[in-house]
């Protein structure tokens, strides 16, 4: 293709087809990383159980899940205003989650904010799977509390009640706990590890505890966020 002078988009000097394809693939990779504000492709070291992943994606309203497990994306809830909107599903770091009938379920979520980036939380909720009581004659309502633990604190010490809810647990099912303000305050504080404790106590038994690290019913956090672009404000001032 012979380009016309002075028109940057009018074609490049002729290249070998393979070389051209390799160059285009590198372009595409770089463009995707730039648009996702990533310096390099994430290195996936720990896998989330596929069943847990599919449950979370279904809750994310990001579309339907085909029979073969691949995802059919549909236009989910529009994130208002500019193009730097995200929906995030974060799984608790299981290395720091107690498994079994501990008095409360302690969860740790890791967040890494880029320097100079501040995030506005539009909406956030914690998804917890509560089991039904083993006693069929028992009241089907269960009191659940979510606490915010001080970073690095021991389970049960120095914690703040975030929300308390009465769950209907006629049968085991998922429940959501709004934590928008808690997550916003956490991110504004520049911390990295959000530690929450969940207590669903029935006669000393925690019905929200994990029954094993590979359970598909892993607790997870969903957040709809938007990047705040603080730099542009400063630029405006300068002008």
């Amino acid at each position: 293709v012979s380009g016309s002078p002075g028109c940057a988009s009018c074609g490049l000097p002729a290249m070998e087809k393979d070389a051209e394809e390799r160059m285009m693939i590198e372009f595409a990779k770089q463009q995707l990383l730039d648009k996702l504000h990533l310096k390099e492709r994430p290195n996936i070291t720990q896998t989330v159980p596929r069943a847990a992943l599919l449950i979370a994606l279904r809750k994310l309203h990001s579309g339907s899940v085909r029979q073969d497990g691949t995802l059919e994306l549909a236009n989910s809830r529009p994130i208002p205003t500019n193009d730097q909107g995200y929906e995030i599903v974060s799984f608790a770091d299981l290395n720091e989650t107690e498994i079994g009938d501990a008095a409360s379920l302690s969860l740790t979520f890791q967040f890494l904010q880029e320097r100079g980036q501040s995030i506005q939380v539009l909406q956030s909720s914690l998804w917890i799977y509560a089991r039904s009581s083993e006693d069929p004659h028992r009241d089907s309502r269960l009191s659940a509390q979510v606490f915010l633990s001080a970073e690095g604190g021991l389970s049960g010490s120095n914690r703040t009640l975030v929300i308390e809810k009465m769950l209907e647990v006629q049968e085991s099912s998922w429940h959501t706990f709004p934590i928008t303000r808690t997550l916003q305050a956490f991110l504004d504080g520049g911390q990295r590890r959000l530690q929450l404790e969940v207590s669903c106590d029935e006669d000393g038994k925690n019905l929200c505890s994990l029954e094993g690290s590979d359970t598909p019913n892993q607790p997870f956090l969903v957040a709809q966020v938007r990047l705040r672009d603080d730099h542009s404000k400063h630029t405006l001032k300068k002008r």
């Binding site: 028109c7 994430p42 989330v48 994306l73 909107g85 929906e87 995030i88 599903v89 974060s90 890494l112």
Partner: protein, 114 residues
Amino acid sequence: SLRCGDDVSVCCKRDFYIKFKDIQWHDWIIAPEGYHMNYCMGQCPQHLAGSPGIASSFHATVFSQLKVNGINTAASSCCVPTERRPLSMVYFNSQHSIVKTDVPDMIVESCGCT
């Protein structure tokens, strides 16, 4: 908008699809399965300036005014995207969280001459 064939002469859209599996990116990108990085290429001779469909752009308007008044600008017209659409992505970030976002203007749907 024309779709490029093997021989490219006039401004057209070249389809270019990358499957994430082929570049070993399918472990961290959950959906979609690939990316249509279409692009525009080809000539925009003067009689095609402003066609198709982008007369609304400022550049095209100015250019057609110059042409109507017979002013030879020696400026050339470029083959550029005229329609683009967002790419919805669901992927793992470095903290193994799942992120879903709609990246605007990522897929070129059609091309035209400025």
